[in-house]
């Protein structure tokens, strides 16, 4: 029995060590005009009622003011997305969305779009403990997606730490 216990403790330890590793969530590349960061959160926003999902990633070049938020929106229906808003309490930030592509993914329509947000707004967003809502605006309607508080707590802690790292490197350069 003890070897099995030892084995499972080993797996759990490996998993925990892995989860705490910050470099797992971002990459960075030196450019002539700054450092290019790419952040990939693992958690997704969902709307269980409409059976839609949203995953996203963030790209930031340190000499620019804006962060590129590329997102994949999965829906049963094909949509034309106009813009995206992130609502957190009484604050909200919005941006026009630019289409990258639309394709099918099994029974879903996979919409890949890109939006730009100010770095300061994104930084502030991930410093908040309250989980935000994402609103996607289509031609004539909109949909709202949310994330579980526990997932947001984990996700915001990781991303705010990466953003802190980016800010620290910007200061020294």
């Amino acid at each position: 029995m003890r070897p099995f216990l030892f084995f499972f403790l080993f797996i759990i330890t490996t998993g925990v060590t892995n989860a705490q590793k910050l470099s797992k969530y971002y990459t960075s590349a030196m450019q002539e005009n700054g450092v290019l960061y790419f952040i990939e959160p693992k958690q997704e926003f969902k709307n269980n009622k409409e059976n839609s999902k949203l995953t996203y990633d963030l790209t930031y070049l340190t000499t620019k003011d804006t962060v590129l938020l590329n997102f994949t929106y999965l829906d049963n229906t094909i949509r034309i997305i106009d813009s995206i808003s992130i609502i957190q309490g009484d604050k909200h930030i919005s941006s026009i969305s630019k289409k990258i592509f639309i394709e099918t993914d099994k029974k879903f329509w996979k919409h890949r779009y890109s939006s730009g947000f100010l770095f300061t707004d994104i930084d502030l967003l991930f410093q908040q403990e309250k989980s935000p809502k994402v609103v996607i605006y289509f031609e004539n309607e909109h949909t709202q997606l949310g994330i579980k508080s526990s997932k947001w707590t984990k996700q915001s802690a990781i991303i705010s730490k990466i953003l802190m790292l980016i800010k620290a490197n910007k200061k020294s350069s």
Binding site: R2, P3, F6, F7, F10, I11, T14, G15, N18, K21, K24, T27, A29, Q31, E32, N33, L36, F38, E40, D57, T59, L61, L68, N70, T72, I100, F101, R112, S114
Partner: protein, 105 residues
């Protein structure tokens, strides 16, 4: 003596499993692997976009995903590729992932 026995047991199981789910990498780690490496570079200058694509294997029995350079470039709308990196991760040979990062314009 018991600790050595336990360690040998873990090592044996890990070695058995690590032969199951593996992903392409310049280095191999039987118990745990998280390796980033270069894949290719082009003569194009500068990058402002990054795209990624990945594929996953479970126990070497099921493997799914599209980790092609094309899929990664497409995800960020990249038309001029600057360089491509790959990342391979594996935990005890149970789950292995292979990820491609494309940098470009």
């Amino acid at each position: 003596m018991r600790i050595i026995k336990n360690f040998m047991f873990v090592a044996a199981i890990s070695l058995l499993l690590s032969s199951c789910a593996v992903s392409k990498s310049p280095l191999t780690g039987f118990l745990y692997m998280d390796v980033k490496a270069p894949l290719t570079a082009t003569g194009n200058s500068g990058s402002s976009k990054v795209g990624s694509a990945s594929a996953k294997s479970i126990l070497g029995i099921v493997a799914t995903g599209d980790a092609s350079i094309d899929a990664a470039a497409k995800s960020a709308g990249i038309t001029k590729i600057h360089h491509v990196d790959e990342q391979s991760t594996s935990i005890l040979g149970i789950i292995a992932t292979y990820k491609v990062y494309v940098y470009g314009e």
